[in-house]
Symmetry: C4
Subunit: 241 residues, 4 copies
Amino acid sequence: MSNGDIFVGEVIGTAILILFGAGVVAAVVLDHSKAKDAGWAVIAFGWGFGVLAGAYTAAPLSGGHLNPAVTVGIAIDTGDWDQVHFYVAGQMAGAFLGAVLCWLVYFAQFQANAEDRSAQPTLGIFSTAPEIRHPVANLLTEIIATVGLVLPILAFGLTEGLGQSGTAILIVAFLVVGIGLSLGGPTGYAINPARDLGPRIAHAVLPIPNKGTSDWSYSWIPVVGPLAGGALSGLIFNVAF
Amino acid sequence: MSNGDIFVGEVIGTAILILFGAGVVAAVVLDHSKAKDAGWAVIAFGWGFGVLAGAYTAAPLSGGHLNPAVTVGIAIDTGDWDQVHFYVAGQMAGAFLGAVLCWLVYFAQFQANAEDRSAQPTLGIFSTAPEIRHPVANLLTEIIATVGLVLPILAFGLTEGLGQSGTAILIVAFLVVGIGLSLGGPTGYAINPARDLGPRIAHAVLPIPNKGTSDWSYSWIPVVGPLAGGALSGLIFNVAF
Amino acid sequence: MSNGDIFVGEVIGTAILILFGAGVVAAVVLDHSKAKDAGWAVIAFGWGFGVLAGAYTAAPLSGGHLNPAVTVGIAIDTGDWDQVHFYVAGQMAGAFLGAVLCWLVYFAQFQANAEDRSAQPTLGIFSTAPEIRHPVANLLTEIIATVGLVLPILAFGLTEGLGQSGTAILIVAFLVVGIGLSLGGPTGYAINPARDLGPRIAHAVLPIPNKGTSDWSYSWIPVVGPLAGGALSGLIFNVAF
Amino acid sequence: MSNGDIFVGEVIGTAILILFGAGVVAAVVLDHSKAKDAGWAVIAFGWGFGVLAGAYTAAPLSGGHLNPAVTVGIAIDTGDWDQVHFYVAGQMAGAFLGAVLCWLVYFAQFQANAEDRSAQPTLGIFSTAPEIRHPVANLLTEIIATVGLVLPILAFGLTEGLGQSGTAILIVAFLVVGIGLSLGGPTGYAINPARDLGPRIAHAVLPIPNKGTSDWSYSWIPVVGPLAGGALSGLIFNVAF
């Protein structure tokens, strides 16, 4: 795949992923939304189908990684790091773009939120936050949850076949739903550095009234944890398979 | 595919789509229904499985577009507009027919609704309405949500393969569930001009007692927005892929 | 397929379908169940995955119809009625057997139900009942909902391919979930004469304490409606496809 | 497949299964979790997607049984018991490991649970318990529910094809969701001796504060019932198919 196709594919695919993923949180937490208070299962399925939509779109261009942890895991597995920076650059740009699109979709709701209840925090729509702030435990949660994503992807040979198989895209989508349901409780499951950092930057720069803090003190955990989990998955895969 | 097959396939497929889609809203909002108050996730899954049922049925005849936004996106992609009017005519007729079938399935509930609580509005079963009435924001929501539908369909080559692959039908069904969960909060996600306008006409003409307004002042947004989103998807696809 | 394989396959497959389907209603309505009050979506998904389990099991023996309405629709389509009675006999026997298995799985709950709350009705676990008793509307609901099941199955050539394709089994399972969510509100969607009549007979004969009425006055509707819907599907299919 | 690959594959796959499965119960029952009180459907889907994740990962090494009841059912079907002990040893070790990983993911929640509400029992996160303690009925429930898992797997030739087919993995995942929804009400559906016994041992030995009893008096039922159900499935399969 050409560097240009990789970059464009990852931008578009990750933008769609974040549009759906941030979108479902906005749908559940903002007032004046038909999905208000629809619950955690809706959030987990929304993120999973965001992966489906984004990977399905990006597959013919870039293979649809959408996640630096996946890209790093595959690079450790294959030993080929040549195009990693094109992947990660596309993922970061796409995650930022997707957050902007989510803000546009819920524009009237964000405005009403500021008017109805001043200082209602909005960061949770864009980025993750732990239920209990405990850096070691939070990091461990993100590492293990990311292994739960990347190791299955590596094991089934998705390194080669993701772009060609609709069945694999379905499986990865439901895998992501499962991670949300099962392992998302403590930290909100970033499991993807771009998914957390890109929208956090968007939250910081977008003109959302009364948006609250962007919580930069926590921001390193959903970057370091998933990268460590992706690398660990590559190592386990090389040893065990 | 012959013009006749296209028309018949789109009539039957879109009728099934609307029967399921309007049906699930009736199931959730009308009294004396076993799914009363079952929530937004049920509505999103009901519409998604309506796409599955309709596309699965129409696929061998017409390829199963069921949506003028999809038809327009494919026409812009391929440059072939010859059969577009047969598709759109079938979609409009099918959407009207599906709304009538939904009314028949819930006939006793519609009658009881009028008797139990006079002037309970019923339009929400047939057509979409925004939570916050803001034409620019509503239009933007529909455009972006429709790109979230049509761009993935174009990207994965469904232009050619929809009729042949059950896996693609499954993916599109869950894609539609995802759009509902993630992007349906502000406007109820028409993302399909026929899906909104056909049942709105049915609502206007059917003898439903105390049915309330058909809200024609909003009706142009779920037509123009999805058509613009479908066209935009075709343009993005031609540039990026 | 041999007559013996057809009969055995339909007995086993329909028994599994009813075990799961009646089971999920028992899980949601009986006290001392972990799924107590889990809601309508759980019931719709439970029945859908019951179809998946039963069809998956029966497929290599009989093709996995599990439903006289499907068998009749296929017979009208193909003109071949030779083995219909082996299918229907297996479906009826299997439906009865599945209801007995459900009673055994929830044996302690049925006993506790009788002790805790005397005369708590149990028929809803086994068979369908309308929310509003209106024979014409109820019949119409069952006919249309059955067309929503059988016409897609016929249209996609499942007449020939059901036994061979896991993807088709997945699609039919989610199609049944969709019918439950969208069209199950008024009558509880029998859409299958064996699914309703077999468990109703089991309800009548099983020694369930304080079980309540078996409601024979309604029992003809979930037999006649689905058979008419299956036949109508075959006719539509022959005309339109 | 080599004995080493089988052992390693079953360790990794079963560890992932239990990580997801125990994880989803922790997510729903522990305080300070984003999925707190998310309900039974979330638990059933979490376990099903745990099977998807574990089987998907283990498939290329061991075929992904992850369950002694499946291994025994296949051995009775094929008559080949040579590698059964490598399967079961891997499954037991993996189930223990997965329970430890779940404890690490929810470490801060387990600590907070002990501090907030002393003696809050935690066994339900790791192992099953009946709603009504009735050994004969509980055993019967586990036997029948396990037949509902193993017989479909055998019937569709998964004995040979599980490792190769993503569609089969999807079907088995939704089959497990269905068993949870439909047959999990009375006992919490062990349907897998390793799934219950491994995490019960982990619960007994892990330093979880105020963890409550490990309930050894019930522990034989979720071992004996599933093994009997797996064996019965093999026998039914050999007679009927």
